[in-house]
Amino acid sequence: MHPAAWLVWAVAAGGIAMLTTNPFYLLPLASMAAFVHAACRVPGPGARSFRIFALFGVFALITRTALVAVTPYAIGFDSVVLAAAEGLRLAVLLIVFGTFNSVSDPFKLLKLAPRRWHEPALVVALALSIAPRTIDAVEKVRGAQKMRGIEVLRWRSLPALAVPVLSTGMENALTLAASMDARGHGSGPRTRYRPDVWDRKSIAATLVCVVAVALFTAALVRGEAGLLVSIPAEWPPVDPLLLLACVALALPGLLSPTRT
């Protein structure tokens, strides 16, 4: 798929998650994101970090709910349900972001940025690549320290994890910056090597994403019931068309699975 099509997919999935707290939309959305990750992931640090983002999502859901459940000001069952619905939304956002990380290469997106925006786009691409790289480094250091009997996940041995991860991270960042400069980055006008082409699959996936977001936006504008979980808590109604829109976001997974 074209890298921009992935960006559209992520914005659409994330955007829909922002518009609703209805679990009947959010849960299919999360499943579709997980499916897309499974089908289209590019082996590498990005794909490995998906699991971490998913765990963070579950963690967010639990803490968000638990915090409201134990607070002394709780207004009972309803507010716990509301908190859980919002927690679920947060979890879905994290899963979508994790999927985006695992299927797309931020540096390919960078190539698409107009020349004038190259510098800021580069900053964004580097920032996007930090999370997966750090997760990778943590795994590596953990394995290495385990060799000498240091279990880094214990509080006391935190420096054994933090110092190598941060210092090599810092060194690597400097090496990368030097390497980019030495290879002429920012020296003037650029050309593009074999630009990505918009094939039919990418166009189809993008159109579906746009339609899905449009349906949700229209529902919001109409003030359709069931987008948000309301009080008193009860199972929210489901609009089959919107449900279909969520499911349709699985399309990239069906159209262009990673060749193995």
């Binding site: 590019v42 082996p43 590498g44 640090p45 290469d105 540096f107 390919k108 190539k111 590596k140 250091v141 394995g143 290495a144 320290q145 385990k146 060799m147 000498r148 009997g149 240091i150 420096p159 054994a160 933090a162 110092v163 190598p164 210092s167 090599t168 060194e171 690597n172 400097l174 090496t175 990368l176 910056a177 030097a178 390497s179 980019m180 400069d181 030495a182 290879r183 002429g184 980055h185 920012g186 020296s187 003037g188 006008p189 650029r190 050309t191 593009r192 090597y193 074999r194 193995t260």
Partner: protein, 530 residues
């Protein structure tokens, strides 16, 4: 011949209080030369290379005076990016220098920055893929490649930029002997046929001396000199095994290549005799057995049905890049689960426990070093296994770091840092110690120290397994050699049997003696007594 690079009165220190790495260095490198930069670790070879495209001082800061002119442009007036069309630079650490993910995109990156027209880019990418035998890897992610493949990709992505001056910092450190030879020969062809200027820093001189036209010596206290290779190596001491042999036997001129040494050996000895010096090798009892072990990454089978017993001695794993050496070590260390087969300790029959039965030393010392001092680093390991700190001195002494116990690991030379990391892992006192390419970036002195340490440990009953491309190291210290190819054990036995007949893996001493000698000591004894 015009000069490609001119250093005029260059002095540089990383800070106002730091020692000068270059001191009033004036030298010029002619166009169309293959130049070797050599000297001990920490003598400033990398700094020297980074001066050539302006990374020093633009990216390092520090105190600078003097001027470097590259193809007529001053590195002070032009930032590295402004010189990218003239100078291509390959850093010591290819992994951290990759910008893009796909091999082909990485190769094109510099050309995109330099606005090379698309059709020219495509052609140059294809040519470079062929030149460095990377075509089958073009669609792969650089992060999925083996160490040697990554190194070739890093070199290729420097070549595509079209610069006629190539600066490479230890470009063959992770390549097998044949791979290194191919890369250096490709560079030599660029020099001979197209008048490129190639500047290479390298520790394993035995690989480069045959290719180099000139050498820059990094002497201590910031002195750099250019001259013919023989002269510089003679002044610096050390050198490849043939040169050291010549020095021991008082030959003049000193031989630099196997060819020169062969001629000399023939003259000394008439026809090389059948004099064979067997060195005493020790053999211990079995420690761990691998039975029918296969391993895969994703869907690729990397190890196939490996059956191997590892004894109390130094076992060397050799084989070309991607043969499965690292995977074998990772399986042994419990870092990678074999797809089938079993690995069992001879004593208990159970699989080796990570950190107690087996310890694996990482390639990059940065993965484990975290303490404030050298001593604290080793003490952390002893502490974790509940050993008394009395052992501390023993380990520091073994690594030759006794005198540096209170300094910060960051302030050690690269060679010393590697030794410290190895000792910090060895201090687990695990029965099996696995090392992956431990001599990467080690100068000869640190290398000797490492050999001693491993030899002592083997005599104390440890099983040492070393995966390496450094055949000279294997010849010096291995008791047993296992050769892997495409994930299978193709040969194993004593070093003489495995190494001396091999066209690729034989050490220099075997080459000059038709396989009669392996080590410098053997050759010295044999030649000295005639």
């Amino acid at each position: 011949m015009t000069d490609a690079i001119v250093f005029s009165e260059v002095s540089f220190a990383y800070g106002p209080d730091a020692p000068e790495v270059l001191r009033r260095t004036s030298l010029s490198i002619p166009e169309g030369a293959f130049v070797l930069v050599t000297g001990a670790t920490g003598a400033g070879k990398s700094t020297f290379l980074r001066c050539i495209n302006g990374l020093v001082p633009h990216f390092s800061g520090g105190v600078w005076s003097g001027e470097v002119a590259v193809a007529g442009s001053s590195t002070i007036e032009h930032a590295p990016r402004g010189l990218a069309a003239q100078v291509a630079y390959v850093s010591q650490d290819p992994d951290a220098s990759f910008v893009l993910d796909r091999v082909e995109d990485e190769l094109a990156y510099a050309m995109e920055n330099l606005a090379v027209p698309p059709h020219a880019m495509r052609r140059r990418v294809e040519e470079t893929l062929d030149l460095l035998a990377l075509a089958p890897l073009r669609d792969r992610s650089v992060r999925s490649l083996s160490g040697g493949e990554r190194q070739r990709v890093a070199i290729a992505s420097a070549l595509t930029a079209g610069a006629r001056i190539l600066v490479l910092d230890e470009p063959t450190s992770q390549l097998d002997p044949q791979g290194a030879e191919d890369v250096l020969a490709a560079l030599k062809r660029l020099v001979d046929d197209l008048a490129f200027t190639v500047i290479v820093a390298e520790h394993r001189l035995e690989r480069v001396t045959a290719f180099a036209d000139l050498a820059v010596g990094a002497f201590s206290s910031g002195r750099f000199e250019i001259g013919d290779v023989a002269g510089i190596v003679e002044q610096l001491g050390g050198g490849p095994p043939v040169t050291r042999l010549g020095r021991r036997l008082g030959w003049t001129p000193l031989p630099l290549t196997v060819r020169e040494a062969r001629a000399r050996v023939g003259r000394v000895n008439g026809v090389t005799g059948s004099r064979e010096v067997e060195i005493a090798r020790h053999f211990g009892s079995p420690v761990v057995a691998m039975t029918g072990v296969s391993a895969r990454y994703a869907r690729d089978e990397v190890l196939h049905d490996v059956t191997l017993t590892i004894d109390e001695r130094v076992t060397a794993l050799i084989g070309r890049n991607g043969a499965g050496k690292t995977t074998l070590l990772r399986c042994l260390a419990g870092l990678h689960d074999p797809a089938s087969g079993r690995i069992a300790m001879a004593s208990s029959g159970a699989s080796p426990r990570t950190g107690t039965d087996v310890a694996f030393s990482p390639q990059d010392p940065g993965d484990i070093l975290y303490a404030e001092t050298v001593a604290a680093e080793v003490a952390a390991t002893l502490d974790a296994r509940g050993a008394s700190t009395e052992e501390l001195d023993k380990w520091l002494d073994a690594a030759g770091l006794e005198s540096k116990r209170d300094i910060h690991p960051r302030d050690l030379s690269a060679g010393e840092r590697s030794l410290l990391a190895i000792v910090a892992i060895a201090a687990t006192a695990a029965r099996i110690l696995a090392l992956d390419e431990p001599t990467r970036g080690l100068d000869p002195e640190s290398k000797d120290r490492l050999c001693e340490l491993l030899d002592t440990m083997a005599r104390e009953g440890h099983a040492i397994v070393v995966a390496t491309h450094d055949v000279e190291l294997v010849a010096e210290m291995a008791d047993h050699v296992v050769m892997l190819a495409a994930g299978e054990v193709v040969a194993q036995g004593p070093p003489r049997a495995i190494l001396s007949g091999s066209p690729v893996f034989s050490p220099q001493m075997a080459r000059i003696s038709d396989g009669r000698w392996l080590t410098l000591d053997e050759a010295t004894t044999a030649l000295g007594s005639s």
